[in-house]
């Protein structure tokens, strides 16, 4: 089993949740989202993000608007829709349950060893 592959799978799984969480407080443009995700090492290559954003937008969880930029091409600012907010709430609940479960399991395993 390829460890890099597994790691990538794990990251990709929670990527959606993280993007929605980032947009909870303020609207961001693509590069901002990329930078934040890269800072916390959740993203290795940028490629993954584009299809994901498009899908979230197509699923009406996100909306966007164009804004002019002084230093480059116009920027796409993403915003969480109402539907996105409720989706995020549910995801957050699930995440809490999951992280608790993972914590319990892994800690138990560690204690046993």
């Amino acid at each position: 089993m390829n460890i890099e592959n597994t790691k990538a799978q794990m990251r990709k799984g929670i990527l959606e949740f993280c993007i929605l969480s980032l947009l909870k407080d303020k609207d961001c443009y693509t590069s901002e989202i990329l930078d934040m995700l890269k800072d916390v090492k959740l993203l290795v290559v940028e490629g993954t993000i584009y299809p994901l954003l498009t899908r979230l937008k197509n699923d009406d969880l996100l909306s966007y608007r164009w804004e002019e930029s002084t230093s480059g091409p116009p920027r796409k600012y993403y915003k969480l829709t109402d539907q996105g907010e409720s989706f995020l709430k549910e995801l957050a609940l699930t995440w809490n349950e999951l992280s608790n479960a993972v914590k319990l399991i892994t800690e138990k395993q560690l204690n046993d060893e």
Binding site: T30, V45, G47, Y50, P51, T54, N58, G72, P73, P74
Partner: protein
């Protein structure tokens, strides 16, 4: 030195080195190929605007040109084409259901597509080969063989071409090959595609290659090409078979075939064989080359080679013609010599003494054939060499008579020998012939049923005997044709002992069934 092109990404202008441009354009194509989702265009434009953003940040203000290194950095940041695929697509719920369904039920089951990668015409046969999982060569062989079964493949092929869809997307190609549509396979396929495109990219826009279908002209050209190659190969194989057959015949004495005559006039026999082979082989080789040219445009000098081959062909033909003319004039000479030396004798024998009786004609073996007490010996002095011809004619005389016409002549081979060794004038010997045996005993007539020749002279002479029997109308004769070997009749004679009557120049049997 490097050529620079100007590109427009997300509305911004950049100068970019040509090689870097090619790389970038390849990369974007590869991403396009790996994406399978809706909103593909939107994703690409997002990616392009991100690339523009990075370029405008990192561009070297001195030169203002984007280099290969910049493009490589971009790819480093953005990731490989497979990174763009959301591999949880199959598991995800909701809107992407459509894809889920499609992907699930086609997995591992081969689908029939035309294979554009390995196509000769429409890719039908390579598609079938993929579907059945066997090498395409066998399918092609089968289809060529099917041409001979009432030309069925000529009808089947276009129908299959119309009804089988072409494999267009990466997913199609994987389904066609029966590989599951998953990320690693798509990645593999996309790499292969990039390699393939990379070869063509220098001159032609990659998108154009995909867009251009097979035009009618191309198809006709290919059909002509395949046909030409097929018949060319067939002809060339045939020529080689002929070469071996002729070689085998070199030693055989073939009267109607000019090979040994070539030797007779003093040329080595392979002159003739080479000339015949060349004049047969070259046209097929040219047909084959033309076919090859129709199929593969990059083959050069076909015209030039064909002209050269044509010259060689013409030389072979001229050479062969000259040989044949020499043979003919030599043959004329020999024929004339044979005619000049032939000794003709006509012996007429009257049958007046059997005026009112029935004539009994018997064909027997020449009594000289068996010497005394040597009927069991194989060492005979004589052989029965040639046939005797008999003709029955009507006469207004009241009585019957017959003529024996004998012609003693040299055989062709001995004439050639005489001409080559002695010269006509110095050779005074004339052809000889044993006397033809016939016996009249009252109304019984015996004829020898073959021309007897001394064994020693067997090849030297070419003798002939013709008997003409003149009969008055309504004269009845009895012919015993039990021993008729080597005997040639002009009239229809039944085997056995029968009575015949001459009516209206036709010999009619009076007691046959």
């Amino acid at each position: 030195m490097n050529k620079t092109v100007t590109i427009n990404i997300a509305g911004l202008f950049f100068h970019i080195d040509e090689d870097a441009y090619v790389k970038l354009s390849d990369y974007l194509d590869a991403i396009k190929n790996s994406l399978n989702t809706e909103g593909k265009e939107e994703i690409i434009s997002d990616i392009e605007s991100r690339i523009a953003e990075i370029f405008s940040e990192k561009i070297d203000p001195k030169t203002g040109v984007i280099s290969m290194i910049d493009v490589e950095n971009i790819i480093q940041i953005m990731g490989q084409p497979e990174d763009y695929r959301l591999d949880d697509e199959n598991e995800s719920q909701g809107e992407s259901n459509q894809y889920k369904k499609e992907d699930n039920y086609t997995q591992r089951q081969r689908k029939l597509f035309r294979d554009p990668e390995k196509r000769v015409l429409g890719g039908v046969l390579s598609g079938l080969a993929n579907y059945f999982g066997i090498d395409v060569v066998w399918i092609r062989v089968l289809f060529i063989l099917l041409i001979f079964v009432y030309g069925s493949s000529i009808i089947i092929y276009p129908i299959l071409w119309i009804i089988i869809p072409k494999a267009k997307t990466v997913a199609d190609i994987l389904e066609m090959k029966g590989e599951p549509v998953n990320i690693s396979n798509i990645e593999k396929q996309v790499r292969e595609n990039i390699d393939q495109l990379g070869n063509n990219i220098k001159n032609i826009d990659t998108n154009k290659i995909k867009a251009v279908g097979v035009t009618a002209g191309e198809v006709i050209k290919k059909i002509i090409g395949i046909t030409c190659m097929f018949f060319g190969i067939l002809g060339m194989i045939g020529s080689f078979i002929m070469l071996f057959v002729l070689n085998g015949f070199t030693n055989a004495n073939f009267n109607n075939f000019p090979l040994h005559e070539i030797v007779n006039i003093g040329y080595p026999v392979w002159y003739g064989i080479a000339a015949i082979f060349t004049s047969g082989f070259i046209p097929f080789l040219i047909i084959f080359l033309v076919g090859l040219k129709c199929l593969y445009k990059n083959i050069k000098y076909v015209g030039l080679i064909s002209i050269l081959l044509g010259f060689i062909w013409a030389i072979a033909i001229i050479f062969f013609t000259v040989i044949m003319i020499e043979i003919e004039s030599k043959n004329d000479l020999i024929r004339k010599y044979i005619d000049d030396t032939t000794k003709v004798t006509v012996v007429k024998k009257s049958l007046d003494h059997v005026a009112n009786d029935t004539l009994n004609i018997d064909f027997i073996r020449d009594p000289r054939f068996y010497g005394i007490n040597d009927s069991l010996s194989n060492d005979k002095i004589f052989i029965e060499k040639d046939e005797v011809e008999i003709e029955i004619k009507s006469t207004t005389n009241t009585n019957a008579y017959f003529e024996i016409i004998t012609e003693a002549s040299y055989s062709k081979s001995s004439s050639i020998e005489i001409n080559n060794n002695y010269g006509k004038t110095s050779f005074t010997e004339t052809p000889t012939m044993l006397e033809y045996y016939s016996k009249i005993n009252n109304n019984n007539i015996e004829f020898a049923n073959a021309i007897l020749t001394e064994k020693n002279n067997m090849d030297k002479y070419d003798n002939s005997v013709k008997i003409i029997l003149y009969l008055p109308y309504n004269k009845i004769i009895r012919i015993n044709s039990d021993n008729q070997r080597y005997f040639e009749y002009q009239h229809q004679i039944n085997s056995g002992l029968h009575y015949y009557k001459l009516i209206d120049d036709k010999l009619e049997c009076t007691n046959c069934n």
